[in-house]
């Protein structure tokens, strides 16, 4: 029986959580809630004397703001309904865990694993005529998630009559440990049933390969010697399935592709990854000397200066975020933190980046059964990454949101982390990993539970109604922070050999990968610490319970390693040994329960062949706009979800912890305009800085993924140039998020989607090599479809191109706001009538009631001209000639001029005819085209001639000047826009859902 403690704010103290719940019920659900007060409930599942219980109650309570009671605290005077929300058994309860540490301090002893504190939240709702059904709606649409939480809903009378609830959410299903075997000798239908029912996501060809492996005489002999059955055990089959999952093996990128280009040409591409991505980097590697480690580790490593390497990785966490936006996204950010942490011998974590592709938060169409409203997904995803990043003490440097209703089925949640490693640690290169036979396998950090089982195979499946709740994990940033600090300390003391993170696939993935370095491993699954009993060996092996790293420790460092872990309050234990046997051997209770040949595990997966056929789409353009003033269109674009301010949510993320920021994510006199790129120092003793940016544009994919890819790559690069970054120092990361591109009954248009993927890869190769930008890391997520409620929703093909570059002196960084009245405004780069799928054309198409009429030319990239422009602009910035620089993106020059003016609180007068264009163009085309490789810069008029000379032979022109009057004027009557109106339009849109 647990001791129940209830804590609530004193009557004269505000209850922001209650207010928030009431306002959400009113605003988003239009329900008549007039008031809501809340309580925290702690269920202390520790045998306590009355005196100890009283002492713990007191210690849990803030005496200035709160009151508390053992058992029930006096209810608020006036309420109609009470909802008590707790966690389901086995779900991470971070607050409960923290409360345990107070209890342990007070009792002056370590708690046993089954002595826990569980938390709930009580909501007391007041509202006239509020029905049970309405309270249920509030509960499940605003407050809680059925996948991870439970709720008790009572009327006031019911609650008063009910006994005090002292139950605790613990797993009671104490199954016996059992290792099952699978018979693979049956028919193909039987094999596929095994794959499907086990959520293994293995294809028939793969099942055949596995069956054949287990029939090999050498394997049968080895199994007999270990007393393993001839048929594969669940531990083995699960391990192979997860190692071969799309998520881990990238089978689509490794496949043979038969590509027909729509003009009668056909080619076979052997692995998109090798042919385009790896080849591009290989080619660039011949020209740059700063690539340290690419393709091999958790994250790419590049040399920053003589002292430090930088490590950058961006991941997606889409499927978990669709099921539980908060927990899924939090796991996304703390999970990607572990990638640099597990790179080489461990990297320090400097900066986070995030980006989300979501349905409109104002979506009012029909939502398929089982999907969450995009507003709720957005709120949860933001809050998860906010809490995960802030609590980890890692500042954000870049963030974006893209909205399109094709993301209501699956949101895209990108999370990135940039780390720093001293180039050498204890006299050894820090990026090199080494494991020797005989080294111990250690696991440190969180305990193992059923969380996230099948996460890797599940994320390779489309989102179905029956998607497993177990696939959801909740991050615990504080446990991870403790683990991180401990590992950095142990690293510098030389207490371990190397490490890697436990992400998708858990131990099966981390140990499966690590043991390739020594040539084998023996793992005792029963030695791994569990959150609760009742886990089967295969579950221990596959669990994706968070905040864990696997570490190789030399036997003579064992004691020192474990002693430091204990002093830092980090759980660590030794669970096996690395060997050179060529096998991964799994044991439970000293008995073998699995043995897999490493070569088969890593190279035995049969390669797919995928058809790809390109047919260029040709959607019609919207009807031409009659000539006339464009001020209204500019205002509308500023307020559109494509352009409008993301500041309100962004301010909830810490951008400045660590004290390294130079150009922040928001700039301007009022710090309210997004910067082109972010600039940071990487340590306190040097003025060298890193410049970070990204490019993403799923809209252009509707026309041609080749130019979509060229455009996002160019966008990321030119953002870095705009801020003062140095050409030749820029590295890129590719994150592909695609709808399933493999043709099947469910995906009749697979060949087209695959062709989109091929074209994107071709562009990536073409422009990475042309720009000299190597791809140092990347990831793909290939099944971003949802078929709920009988309706298939596929995301538009999306490529996030993240980039980092270098600036030698951060004081020379340039920002986008206009700086001084009287300065000349120049436009660099040519504007073409490239309006296809632009923000302007999509807006017009929507307004006309023909949202598909987004046709037109998609923006292209002329790499040679672009590179000459970038070099010239870099030189001009280095020589102090440029006061402001901004590269226009969505909304084109019109939005670009406006944002630069808003940033400086200064107006501008622009001569429309002076803007360099390709041929004669109409005013709206000039102002709203999203042509690539362009900049809006300002300079002191005394420097204009010098700047023009630097761009000799390139498209550049003085197009106007900065003025004191806060007003943007373009042409004689094209645009007349007061900045206060522009600022209001820009800021207001998302405010109501912040």
């Amino acid at each position: 029986m647990a001791t129940r403690i209830e804590i609530g704010p004193k009557n004269n103290v505000r209850d922001p959580r209650g207010r928030h719940a009431a306002s959400a019920a009113r605003t988003f659900l239009q329900l008549p809630v007039t008031d809501c007060r809340t309580r925290d409930v702690y269920k202390v599942d520790i045998l306590l004397t009355r005196k100890d219980a009283e002492m713990i109650r007191k210690a849990f309570t803030d005496p200035v703001t709160s009151r508390s009671a053992l058992g029930r605290l006096k209810a608020p005077a006036d309420f109609d309904w009470i909802v008590e929300i707790g966690f389901k058994p086995g779900v991470t309860d971070n607050v409960g865990r923290t409360a345990q540490s107070i209890a342990a301090d007070l009792l002056d002893r370590r708690l046993n694993p089954d002595e826990c504190v569980y938390t709930c939240i009580q909501y007391f709702f007041k509202g006239e005529n509020l029905t049970r059904e309405q309270v249920e709606t509030i509960t499940w649409d605003v407050l809680a998630n059925r996948l991870i939480q439970t709720a008790q809903i009572h009327t006031r009378d019911e609650w008063e009559d009910a006994p005090e609830d002292d139950s605790v959410p613990v797993f009671r299903d104490n199954e016996d440990v059992e290792v099952r075997t699978y018979h693979l000798g049956g028919r193909d239908e039987d094999l596929m049933r095994i794959s499907r029912e086990g959520i293994l996501s293995l294809s028939l060809a793969e099942m055949h390969a596995i069956r054949d492996y287990f029939r090999r005489p050498d394997i049968l002999e080895r199994r007999a010697s270990l007393k393993l059955p001839e048929d594969p055990t669940d531990v083995e089959l699960e391990c192979i399935a997860q190692t071969w999952s799309e998520h881990c093996k990238h089978k689509i990128f490794a496949a043979d592709v038969r590509y027909r280009d729509g003009e009668g040409n056909e080619e076979t591409i052997r692995s998109l990854y090798k042919t385009y991505i790896q080849a591009a980097t290989r080619s660039v590697a011949e020209k740059v000397d700063w690539l340290v480690s690419v393709f091999t580790d958790n994250a790419g490593v590049i040399r920053f200066n003589d002292r430090y390497n930088l490590v950058y990785k961006v991941e997606t966490h889409n499927s978990p975020s669709a099921l539980d936006p908060y927990g899924g996204a939090m796991t996304g950010i703390v999970g990607v933190n572990r990638d640099p942490m597990g790179t080489g011998i461990g990297s320090e974590l400097l900066f986070n980046s995030w980006g989300y592709c979501l349905g409109s938060p104002f979506f009012d169409g029909h939502l398929p059964e089982g999907l969450m409203h995009p507003r709720r997904i957005r709120d949860g995803v933001h809050q998860g990454v906010i809490d995960g990043g802030n609590q980890s003490g890692i500042p954000w440097v870049r963030g974006f949101e893209k909205f399109d209703d094709r993301f209501i089925g699956k949101p895209l949640v990108f999370c990135g982390t940039l780390g720093r490693m001293p180039r050498e640690i204890n006299g050894k290169p820090s990026h090199e990993k080494e494991i020797r036979p005989g080294d111990l396998i250690m696991m440190a950090g969180g305990r193992i539970g059923k969380d996230g089982i099948h996460g890797a195979t599940f994320s390779s499946e489309e989102l179905r109604q029956e998607s497993p709740a177990q696939a959801v994990q909740i991050g615990d940033p504080i446990t991870q922070r403790k683990l991180y600090e401990f590992l950095m300390e142990a690293r510098d003391l030389g207490l371990y050999r190397t490490l890697t993170d436990n992400g998708a696939g858990g131990l099966s993935s981390s140990i499966g990968e690590m043991c390739r370095m020594s040539g084998g491993a023996v793992l005792d699954l029963d030695k791994a610490p569990l959150k609760y009993p009742g886990l089967q060996p295969w579950e221990i092996f596959l669990s994706e319970a968070q905040e864990r790293m696997s570490i190789a420790v030399a036997p003579d460092k064992r004691e020192a390693f474990l002693a430091l872990a204990a002093r830092r309050d980090v759980e660590a234990c030794d669970i096996g040994t690395f060997t050179d046997s060529g096998n991964l051997v799994l044991r439970y209770g000293g008995k073998a329960c699995g043995c897999i040949d490493l070569e088969f595990l890593h190279d035995g997966c049969p390669r797919m062949t995928i058809e790809a056929e390109w047919t260029p789409p040709s959607p019609p353009p919207p009807t031409p706009r009659p000539s006339g003033a464009l001020t209204g269109d500019v205002l509308k674009l500023l307020a559109s979800l494509d352009v409008c301010s993301r500041e309100d949510k962004s301010r909830c993320y810490d951008a400045e912890v660590k004290g390294l920021s130079v150009v922040k994510p928001f700039v301007g006199r009022e710090s309210d305009i997004p910067s082109d790129a972010t600039v940071c120092r990487i340590d306190y003793t040097s003025d060298e800085g890193v410049v970070i940016s990204e490019g993403i544009n799923p809209y252009y994919s509707d026309l041609d993924t080749y130019w979509m890819t060229a455009s996002v790559l160019d966008e990321a690069v030119r953002r870095i140039i705009s801020a003062g970054g140095k050409p030749g120092t820029i590295a890129g990361l590719d994150n592909f998020c695609w709808p399933d591109p493999v043709a099947s009954d469910k995906t009749p248009d697979g060949a087209y989607k695959m062709a989109q993927l091929v074209r994107s890869n071709k562009a990536l190769y073409d422009f990475c090599t042309a720009y000299g930008v190597p791809l140092i890391s990347g990831k793909d997520s290939m099944k971003n479809d949802s078929t709920r409620g009988g309706r298939k929703i596929s995301i538009p093909p999306t490529l996030l191109f993240s980039a980092i570059g270098k600036i030698d002196d951060v004081a020379k960084a340039v920002t986008m706001p206009f700086k001084r009245a009287g300065d000349d405004i120049l436009v660099i780069g040519e504007t073409s009538a490239e309006l296809g799928a632009s923000a302007y054309v999509r807006m017009r198409a929507f307004d006309q009631g023909t949202p598909e009429a987004i046709g037109g030319d998609v923006p292209r990239v002329d790499a040679e001209t672009a590179l000459r422009i970038y070099t010239a602009l870099y030189d001009a910035i280095q020589n102090g000639r440029i006061r402001s620089s901004h590269t226009p993106t969505l909304g084109g020059l019109a939005v670009g001029f406006t944002l630069a003016a808003l940033g400086g609180n200064l107006g501008a007068e622009i001569n429309l005819g002076a803007i360099p264009t390709r041929g004669r163009m109409k005013a709206d085309e000039v102002l709203f085209a999203e042509s690539n490789s362009r900049f809006i810069v300002t300079c002191d008029p005394g420097n204009t001639a010098d700047v023009l000379a630097r761009f000799d032979g390139l498209p550049i022109a003085v197009v106007g000047r900065v003025v004191e009057e806060p007003k943007l004027t373009v042409g004689s009557q094209a645009v007349r826009l007061r900045l206060d109106r522009a600022r209001k339009a820009f800021r207001e849109t998302l405010r109501s859902v912040s």
């Binding site: 200035v64 607050v95 802030n390 403790k482 810490d654 912890v657 004290g659 130079v662 150009v663 706001p817």
Partner: protein
């Protein structure tokens, strides 16, 4: 050289920039994990300044600073009391300030009694917030750290920074004793800020920082250690910036021992 002890661990996270701030000010900072300090509490007495840094100790669960303060009070109360009695300085920034109020180190109007009198509550805006604020300092405050300062721009980064004082009488005493050395200010007028976002959390009397009557124990929500380079000011790109950077607060502390 003035020796500064910075306590780390359990989710505190501003150790690097805080150490840099003290070095910049000419002091010698040492980082020590809370568990190591608990194992050897005498380490405290070998320093002259103790700093509780910013971060998210224990994830801010059970209200910010609560659990960390509890652990400090449980294990280090006597050492802390004698450290302060000995005439040393204690500084708390953000989560460190929250920890100090939970410990009762601030405002301690009747001497250090380790009972909590003020609380830092959730911001009125309801969320964590990162923005820059203008601070004004009270010239008559005994606070050692803010001596000679009139205004300063600094970032805030917190979800629970709204000062709530137990009762009006205590607030009056704090005002009388000049134990409110810094407040959020309206940059246009220099007056204490009443409205969001100049007053970012709804703090009563625009309180941004509190000291004890000796002026040697001080905590504030904004982050002086996050403004040590010119390029950290959000408007540095517009040319020279007015006012001192955050290092002035650390220099004042070091000069106290000069």
């Amino acid at each position: 050289m003035t020796r500064v002890l910075i306590i780390t661990g359990y989710g505190l996270n501003c150790e690097a920039e805080s150490a840099h701030a003290w070095r910049t000010a000419g002091a010698n900072p040492a980082l020590l994990h809370l568990n190591d300090l608990i194992a050897d509490p005498s380490a405290m007495s070998r320093h002259q300044i103790l700093m509780f840094i910013g971060g998210f100790s224990f994830g801010d669960h059970m209200t910010s600073g609560h659990v960390f303060a509890h652990r400090v009070a449980h294990h280090l109360r006597d050492e802390l009391a004698s450290f302060i009695d000995a005439g040393n300085l204690v500084l708390g920034i953000c989560n460190g300030f929250q920890i100090m109020t939970k410990l009762g180190l601030l405002p301690a109007m009747d001497g250090q009694s380790f009972s909590q009198d003020i609380a830092l509550m959730q911001n009125d805006c309801g969320t964590f917030r990162n923005q820059w604020v203008r601070l004004r300092f009270e010239p008559d405050s005994p606070c050692v750290f803010t001596r000679g300062l009139s205004f300063m721009d600094l970032p805030i980064r917190h979800g629970e920074g709204k000062v709530h004082v137990k009762d009006k009488a205590l607030l009056d005493r704090m005002e009388e004793a000049n134990c409110i050395p810094c407040r959020y200010a309206d940059p246009a007028t220099g007056d204490p800020a009443r409205t969001f976002p100049q007053n970012p959390n709804g703090s009563i009397h625009a309180i941004a920082g509190v000291c004890d009557p000796t002026g040697r124990v001080f905590g504030m929500m904004p982050h002086p250690e996050a403004y040590l380079f010119r390029e950290q000011h959000p408007q540095w790109d517009f040319g020279p910036v007015d006012g001192p950077d955050g290092s002035a607060i650390f220099r004042n502390a070091v000069e106290h021992f000069a």
